[in-house]
């Protein structure tokens, strides 16, 4: 400050400066704050609340299925019938007919030896060894695969598992289809939810219930 500055300006200048700083700060905060307002719309595709009825939907193949006896294979999208499946234990990956390509509704349909299916499987939802579970792993959402009896991963002990199992290829969680998809090993913390299936008059396999719990991880 020069010598001729009066005492009055000496007092006023710092105050003026502070007021300007405040307004400047407010402007910057306000501008960038305003840019944050559409933040909730970042989740653009937030779930639309459309209700989907699962019971009554027939099941269609989600991938090509070749029966183990070597007979002619069935193409993706073909409706699943009870006699299409090979000798137990056997498993196919299917979609409900109106939800093809919606992976939240992928289902693994098994044909198992009927007398080996036990609690905690919901036996009302089983027909002649046909039993179905969500195919979405409860660990991190990969599609659960199918593992034959003599090919179990090392985290499933022989005493725990004598039949085939549902095995997730991502982090090796495995589930027991004979007893309500109980976790046999791996990092999954709960079973993949069961869903009811039955064979209708025309021989096609259809869903008879909703999933009995939350599908997928979380």
């Amino acid at each position: 400050m020069t010598d001729d500055t009066t005492d009055e300006t000496r007092d006023v200048l710092p105050v003026r400066r502070r007021v300007l700083q405040w307004f400047g700060g407010l402007g910057v905060v306000g501008f960038f704050g305003a840019l944050l307002t559409p933040i909730k719309d970042l989740g653009i595709a937030a779930a639309g609340g459309q209700e989907i009825e699962l019971p009554g939907q027939a099941l269609v193949l989600a991938e090509e299925y070749s029966p183990p006896d070597g007979s002619e294979s069935f193409a993706t999208g073909e409706p699943v019938t009870a006699d299409m499946l090979g000798e137990p234990p056997e498993s196919v990956l299917v979609y409900p007919e109106n939800l093809v390509d919606n992976n939240d509704y992928l289902v693994r349909l098994h044909n198992l030896e009927p007398d080996r299916i036990a609690e905690p499987t919901n036996l009302d939802w089983v027909q002649d060894g046909l039993v179905a579970y969500s195919a979405i792993c409860t660990h991190l959402g990969c599609t659960v695969g199918w593992e034959e009896e003599d090919d179990q991963p090392p985290n499933v002990s022989a005493e725990l598992q004598e039949g085939a199992s549902m095995l997730c290829p991502c982090h090796i969680s495995s589930f027991d289809p004979y007893s309500g998809a109980e976790v046999l090993g791996g990092p999954a913390s709960r079973p993949v939810p069961q869903i009811g299936v039955a064979v209708n008059e025309s021989g096609a396999v259809e869903l008879t219930s909703e999933f009995e719990g939350e599908v997928g991880s979380g």
Partner: protein
């Protein structure tokens, strides 16, 4: 010079042209990372010209496939398309590897000590941002690998207690999969993250210019004797202009030659072999730099704790908490070291590096950490090795401690005076 008469460039040039650069081979790792990044930007620009960031269905060889996938197949069939795409993939791998080995050099020689601690922190952030860039790039071809990897990433973020569902929905443009995700990741992968990397590299290099390099006392002595220099202290190195500039040019050209050769003969990320996404998940593993997280996810037993309505799951612990803690520790290395040993660099002009063999404690911890990452990565193969998750988990936890302890005892017996 035209620029000089207007902008006085000589003054700027004169200020930096004599900056001394170290000559030891391990000091070129950061440059290798820089050159692979430049290569990524150049090849990425080429790829971006032909790529379509959309999952609308288009016809390809009689099949309905996502447009993103079809456009990558188209790139592969351009005259040099496949070569450029492979150079891009290889450069991503090399960049991450170079950053990691560069960090190892700095760690083992104690070159992170104050005042260089800030640059260590920026470097550690650069490593994470680079891995993020690679992860975002995973999605773009929208093949089976892309969808599986990104789906797992989405589920990991969804597993954050309390805020997971909201956070993952905001970050991934809604529940996975959805049509808005590919455009979003594309923007982040080609613009936002590279911009961030450029900014961080800029700050990293400015700090480097100001702080100078650390020097091996023995090498320094030898070089000084040869030069007939009698001074006790002072920086030894080649000047930026012309020697260092020529060296850098040579390294960049050699890098381009090497990566082109690699890309020409060794396939990487074969998009057409993965094929478009199918309902069933085939067994596949992430790239090597994420393998340790993948291994941890496999060996963590199932956990489901509920605290105040938020559930703490194995996937949150293995996918975010443990890796986050490890990255936190890496970023904290200089600060933890200073707390524990009180050791800082003496001055900003001249710093001698520590010889790793004379620092048993630090070196042993470093070797233990390397053992941990290797074993955690090995855990990603546990079903193929035929080991149970629990056994592998115990090995992954305990073996690094044992390896570190043995390294410490050996180093200690060699250098009894070391700290």
């Amino acid at each position: 010079m035209a620029g000089d008469s207007r902008l006085d460039l000589d003054r700027l040039f004169g200020k930096f042209k004599d900056k001394a650069f170290p000559l030891h081979g391990t000091f070129f790792l950061g440059e290798l990372a820089l050159f692979s990044f430049v290569t990524l930007v150049l090849t990425g620009t080429f790829l971006g010209l032909f790529y379509e960031p959309s999952i609308r269905l288009v016809e390809l060889a009689g099949e309905q496939v996502p447009a993103a996938y079809a456009s990558v197949v188209k790139i592969d069939n351009l005259s040099v398309g496949l070569l450029v795409r492979r150079i891009h993939h290889w450069s991503a791998q090399i960049m991450i590897a170079a950053v990691i080995v560069h960090m190892a050099r700095i760690y083992f020689t104690g070159a992170y000590k104050k005042p260089r601690d800030v640059n260590w922190l920026i470097g550690a952030i650069l490593l994470q941002v680079t891995i993020l860039a690679a992860f975002l790039g995973y999605l773009l071809p929208f093949d089976e690998f892309a969808v599986t990897a990104t789906s797992i990433g989405y589920q990991v973020f969804k597993s954050i207690p309390w805020i997971g569902a909201t956070f993952s929905s905001l970050a991934f443009a809604g529940p996975f999969p959805n049509p808005h995700l590919v455009p979003r990741f594309f923007t982040a992968h080609v613009f936002l993250i590279p911009l961030l990397i450029v900014g961080l590299i800029g700050v990293h290099l400015m700090i480097l210019l100001k702080l100078k390099h650390t020097q091996d006392p023995k090498v320094t002595k030898r070089l000084r004797e040869r030069a007939g220099d009698v001074k006790e202290r002072g920086l030894v190195g080649v000047p930026m202009w012309p020697e260092q500039a020529v060296l850098m040019g040579t390294i960049f050209m050699s890098y381009l030659a090497g990566v082109s050769l690699l890309a020409a003969f060794v396939p990487v990320h074969p998009v057409e072999a993965y094929g478009p996404s199918v309902p069933g998940t085939p067994a596949m593993r992430p790239d090597w730099y994420l393998l340790w997280i993948y291994g941890i996810l496999k060996i963590i037993p199932s956990i489901d704790l509920t605290i105040l309505g938020g559930s703490i799951t194995a996937e949150f612990i293995g996918g975010l908490l443990v890796p986050g803690g490890i990255f936190g520790l890496i970023m904290g290395v200089p600060f933890i070291d200073e707390k524990v040993t009180g050791d800082t660099a003496e001055d900003t002009e001249y710093t001698e590096l520590d010889r790793p063999l004379e620092r048993p404690g630090r070196t042993a911890i470093g070797i233990g950490a390397i053992a941990f990452f290797v074993l955690a990565g090995t855990a990603g193969y546990l079903e193929e090795i035929g080991i149970g998750a629990l056994t592998m988990g115990l090995i992954t936890l305990l073996a690094p401690v044992a390896v570190g302890a043995i390294a410490y005892v050996l180093l200690r017996s060699r250098a009894p005076s070391g700290a």
